[in-house]
Symmetry: C2
Subunit: 188 residues, 2 copies
């Protein structure tokens, strides 16, 4: 359990936790939340919804006429009790699987529902993952003399700068968490 590619499922559960929604609307929100350059395809979303339904985490509400006149058939999905519990458990999982490029953004998006201890663990885990990456690249840039044209160097420099910036962003966030949290107040 805690499969690697569970990011999409967690995102879907999280959005449905906020409010029941139909697939098309869900996709739009996921495109923003996931922040991939590209958009999520229906070929991924609908099978995912089907799987979450089969697992008992969500149910499909077929005859959902929205406010006003009856639009065409829309299938509104909402979280079950099991779904809520599963989502809550997913948020508590603050181990390595939450530090990936893919997962981290999703986990961060639901930080308002995550307890502070987990938030800090995730932020620190993410930071040390990036730090590792940083000095892997730095070391290989030193020992390898190969490919030293100006463009390669510029690319390398820019990459390192981006990661460094990401790290100091995380450091700021960690400091803020330690001194009271950003604005979050869901703990007593």
């Amino acid at each position: 359990m805690a499969r690697r590619g569970a990011a999409l499922e967690v995102a879907v559960l999280g959005l449905l936790h906020d409010a029941p929604m139909h697939g098309y609307e869900l996709r739009k929100q996921l495109n923003v939340l996931l922040g991939w350059g590209r958009v999520l395809s229906y070929g991924t979303l609908y099978p995912c919804l089907k799987a979450l339904g089969a697992a008992g985490y969500i149910v499909a509400d077929e005859s959902a006429a929205p406010e006003g006149r009856s639009r065409r058939t829309r299938i509104v999905y909402r979280l079950t009790a099991e779904g809520k519990e599963h989502f809550a458990q997913s948020l508590e999982e603050s181990g390595p699987s939450a530090w990936d490029d893919e997962s981290f953004g999703v986990r961060f998006a639901f930080f308002a529902r995550t307890d502070r201890a987990s938030r800090v663990r995730i932020l620190e885990g993410r930071r040390s993952r990036l730090e590792e990456r940083l000095d892997t690249v730095r070391r290989s840039a030193q020992r390898g003399r190969e490919r030293a044209d100006a463009y390669t160097a510029e690319l390398q420099r820019h990459g390192l700068e981006s990661v460094e910036r990401e790290i100091s962003w995380l450091t700021d966030l960690i400091d803020r968490e330690r001194s009271g949290g950003i604005t979050n107040d869901d703990e007593k």
Copy 2:
């Protein structure tokens, strides 16, 4: 042709263009060049080398005893004439397929071998792709009132800032290209 996922193949051809290499060494260099957080697996690399061989772009040189004592079997790959030509053609392709997150880094890594016109086209294409992304997100952030907790807002802000930074990096590079190129002097 010009398949979407050709980034790896181009990277391999480009590295082998610099110097013949065996798979293990190639992987290390690819890990730096591709700049994915994760490392490239052999399960991807070796089949890819096989495919490039089948296409006639590279040949495998089995009995390559390196300097000094005989190490264990290493299979050194090198570019054929067709491979060189194919690589050169790939670099000239400066259309949308070169503007992806995945492809752009690889294309940039070989800018020293790319003519200036193509370089500028790729940089500008990349920039306008990012600009589109920017105002898609900006627009959806405005109209959608949903999910407005402090963490979501921070994530959005940070994402936009990163893209803006990337855009101004590209703008600088474009300006430098227009006024003489970075340091590159492979055109008469």
